[in-house]
């Protein structure tokens, strides 16, 4: 039953990610990715990671993709035209590389089980042990992350602000 639900959620996720890739309208493409990430959150719950599922919905689907939507609406990006490709050789080569990589990756993953020698046991569903780990052994990376986010905030502001003397379009 759990396996059935996980597989259904995984197929749903991959399907909507594929919709994102093939859709030419950028806004619809982002919205398909939001749906795909909700499916991924269901996968995380089935793998007993409820906290990650929650931040997947809140941070990824809720914040990052909404940021994408804002930028798309700000820039008014047009729909990708179906016109002639100026460099068809690039597409052919990248399609071939993709095929080779797909065969390699699926061959690698097929029949790959859990490596022996792990701690064993099952991960319980509650979040408290995760918080204990995050605020004890991984406290330094956690604090460094806050500095990184501040740096990203300042960097994004500097990059996107209007330069002096530039007229507003």
């Amino acid at each position: 039953m759990a396996r059935l639900m996980f597989d259904a959620a995984a197929i749903f996720t991959v399907l909507f990610a594929a919709v994102m890739v093939v859709h030419r309208h950028p806004v619809k493409s982002v919205l398909a990715l939001v749906v795909s990430f909700f499916g991924l959150a269901v996968c995380y719950v089935m793998l007993s990671a409820p906290f990650i599922a929650a931040i997947q919905v809140i941070v990824y689907a809720g914040a990052i993709l909404v940021l994408f939507l804002f930028v798309l609406l700000l820039l008014n990006v047009p729909e990708e035209t179906r016109g002639r490709d100026p460099r068809p050789i690039q597409r052919i080569l990248s399609g071939g590389a993709l095929l080779v990589f797909a065969v390699y990756l699926l061959g690698l993953l097929r029949g790959h089980g859990a490596p022996a020698g792990g701690p064993g046991g099952t991960v319980s569903f509650d979040v408290a042990p995760l918080a204990r780990l995050l605020f004890s052994r991984y406290l330094l990376p956690f604090e460094a992350l806050s500095v990184l986010l501040l740096a990203a905030l300042v960097g994004a502001f500097v990059l996107a602000q209007q330069e002096k003397g530039e007229t507003r379009r």
Partner: protein
């Protein structure tokens, strides 16, 4: 096995998601679509990490994914700011038309 889910299923889902993201990154022409495809690949890696973490009975996988998601937020904000700056100069974000380092 993680509560009835074999690890192979999680790995296969992760691999399929990664391939979809890679196809998007290679074949699309709009810079924002390429960026979204990179996000999909990152999520495929997250799924593999969570799958392995749960299969091994440890929470370290979830910790790593937590950091990856936070860094993805930082990366997305800076990347989109670059696109806004680029669009202001070039009036396009088609990667085939952005082929000069300096003009």
């Amino acid at each position: 096995m993680i509560g009835g889910i074999p690890l192979g299923d999680a790995l296969l889902a992760s691999g399929a998601l990664f391939l979809v993201g890679l196809a998007g990154a290679l074949l699309r022409r709009s810079a924002i679509s390429i960026f979204l495809s990179i996000e999909v690949m990152m999520n495929a890696a997250n799924l593999a990490l969570i799958g392995y973490g749960s299969a091994l009975g440890t929470r370290e996988g979830q910790i790593v994914v937590f950091f990856v998601i936070a860094i993805a937020a930082a990366e997305a904000s800076v990347g989109l700011a670059i696109f806004v700056a680029l669009f202001r100069h070039k009036e396009t974000i088609d990667v085939n038309k952005i082929n000069l380092l300096k003009w």
